[in-house]
Amino acid sequence: MKLSREAVQHVAMLARIELTPEEEDLYAEQLGSILEFFDRLKGVDTTRVEPTSHVLEIVNVLREDERRESYPPAEILRNAPDPSASFFRVPKILD
């Protein structure tokens, strides 16, 4: 089974990844065969089976509403690719 080029492009768009046409082909093939393999899950009877989202049955982990000292802006911006005084700087949103 192969995924369609459109499907691959759509997923790449959602994930903000740019693919070359060759990569689109490659992923279409690979993702297709992986997903085909996963289709065997369809045969498993999961009626009334709760999905696991936590292996441990903990609930209500809460912390008190106390202020803790924030990090200095210099630390927060230390690894920024394009810091500007006290902001993160990014190219503008629209063309």
């Binding site: 959602l14 209500n60 008190e64 509403d65 106390e66 202020r67 924030s70 993160f88 503008k92």
Partner: protein
């Protein structure tokens, strides 16, 4: 064809906790950029969220006050999308299992009272802020300030029960008032602690289906919400009457031009790929705790309004205005405690006080006049020390200087003249100066009384007691001497 509007609202309210929802950074407004952040709220590699108990408490308070049904188990979910003000590339929110479902608000608008149902209330984290470097037209870059990421929000979604812009405005005002009463949100639309988006569609009047809706954003005041809705309703009606179809899209309110602008073409389909956040565990509120919160809810606007009518014998409309904010209601009650004439207090507050506050653009809690001083002034009118008219001047002075009424009256020499003999001499003088009018009065022109009263008041610079003046004039005029 008659169309009716179908409106639903989506409100985001920032909660007044000390710290953020998933980390200990401060939630205070207006700090230097990126000075209230840490690895957790800026989404650095490896960080994890830990849920703030107070957020749950405040959200429960709001949900209970709005008659919501609290979920025995609710779950945080990740809402995945890319935007520079969203550091993790997902927002922690709630999806399948929100904190509360259902609920309602009774709203008065256009002369009737209607119940607007709520669909759900859930908790989530706020995103950061983007500003242009320079102006929107010339900017090459945007600047990201992450102070606001992680500030706790509740999102309140209504059913599409609202039918007019006025109703929407009334709903928002009431909701804001309740949240302020509960002290869970300060309801400041300008600062962004209370935000509203709207969904609006039209359908043939009397039908049940739903037309194509548009989502309205960027309305940062109640007035703008009403205006935007009205504009959009008119716009949609024009399209439909022209035989066209409505495009489902997001439209931004442009306040300077008074129009909504479609974002079609610039927006991609959002697939948020919600799934339960594996870094957080389910929220299972202890029923006993929920009951305690319910029991300790403060008296809400509706209850207070009803009580004011009952307890103080006020008209509904008066009670409604007085309870529109907890602070105003409080001011009223404190004043009545010291001067137990609720009607008089109500009249004075609804006319003079509110007018002055509006004129000076003040909130009641910044009012120079206090319940004590207002009560004292009203007492002075009651016992005749000053006339009602002088009272207004005294009040204006109180609003200006915050001084006590006794001091003002003394300083300005505005004590009302009540002494009969003092007034009598002025009355006699006035009558003496206008014999023709006196004669005319005695011949039947009774309207001239007002003239004489005016003259006496002029002569006493308004300080004579109107009652005494009237009495004496009538006696003199009627007695014929």
């Amino acid at each position: 064809m008659e169309y009716e509007a179908v409106i639903g609202l989506e409100i985001h309210a920032q909660l007044l906790t000390e710290s953020k929802i998933f980390c200990g950074c401060s939630t205070a407004f207006g700090a230097e950029p990126n000075s209230q952040t840490c690895p957790v709220c800026t989404g650095m590699p490896g960080v994890l969220p830990v849920f703030n108990r107070k957020v749950l408490e405040f959200a429960l308070r709001a949900a209970l006050a709005l008659h919501g049904e609290i979920a025995p188990r609710s779950v945080f979910a990740r809402k995945n999308y890319f935007y520079p003000d969203l550091p993790k590339g997902y927002q922690i929110s709630q999806f399948e299992l929100p904190l509360s479902v259902g609920g309602y608000l009774e709203v008065d608008a256009d002369g009737s009272s209607r119940r607007i149902r709520l669909r759900r209330i859930h908790m989530e984290e706020d995103a950061g802020k983007l500003v242009y470097e320079g102006t929107m037209e010339t900017a090459d870059a945007s600047l990201v300030d992450l102070n606001r990421t992680g500030v706790p929000l509740i999102e309140i979604v209504t059913e599409p029960d609202i039918r007019t812009p006025a109703e929407a405005g009334a709903f928002l005002r009431k909701l804001r008032s309740i949240l302020r009463y509960l002290q869970v949100c300060d309801g400041n639309m300008e600062q962004g602690s209370f935000r509203c988006d709207a969904n609006v569609s039209l359908r043939p009047a009397g039908t049940q289906g739903l037309g194509v809706k548009t989502e309205l954003k960027n309305m940062n005041s109640f007035r703008f919400v009403e205006k935007a809705l009205q504009y959009e309703i008119d716009r949609q009606r024009a399209v439909l009457e022209d035989g066209g179809t409505i495009v489902q899209e997001t439209r931004l309110w442009d306040a300077s031009r008074g129009v909504t602008v479609g974002m079609r073409g610039k927006e991609e389909a959002h697939d948020y790929r919600y799934f339960p956040d594996p870094d957080l565990v389910p929220v299972v509120p202890d029923p006993a705790w929920v009951e305690e919160i319910r029991r300790s809810l403060p008296e809400l606007p509706d209850e207070k309004e009803a009580r004011f009518v009952r307890q103080y014998g006020l008209a509904w409309q008066e009670a409604k205005v007085l309870t529109s904010s907890a602070e105003l209601a409080d001011f009223f009650e404190k004043t009545v405690q010291r001067f137990p004439k609720p009607k008089a207090v109500s009249n004075w507050m609804l006319s003079e006080l509110l007018r002055e506050l509006r004129r000076q653009d003040l909130e009641i809690d910044a009012c120079p006049v206090t319940p004590d001083s207002l009560a004292a002034m009203l007492a002075m009118i009651e016992d005749g020390t000053i006339s009602g008219k002088i009272g207004k001047q005294v009040f204006e002075e109180m609003m200006r200087s915050g001084a006590a009424p006794e001091a003002i009256v003394r300083e300005k020499g505005w004590v009302q003249i009540q002494d009969e003999s003092e007034i009598a001499s002025v009355v006699d003088k006035v009558l003496g100066e206008h014999p023709e009018e006196v004669a005319a009065f005695r011949k039947g022109k009774e309207k001239l009384l007002a003239f004489f009263v005016g003259q006496v008041m002029k002569a006493t610079r308004g300080k004579a007691s109107p009652k005494v003046v009237n009495d004496l004039l009538l006696r003199r005029l009627k007695s014929g001497s």
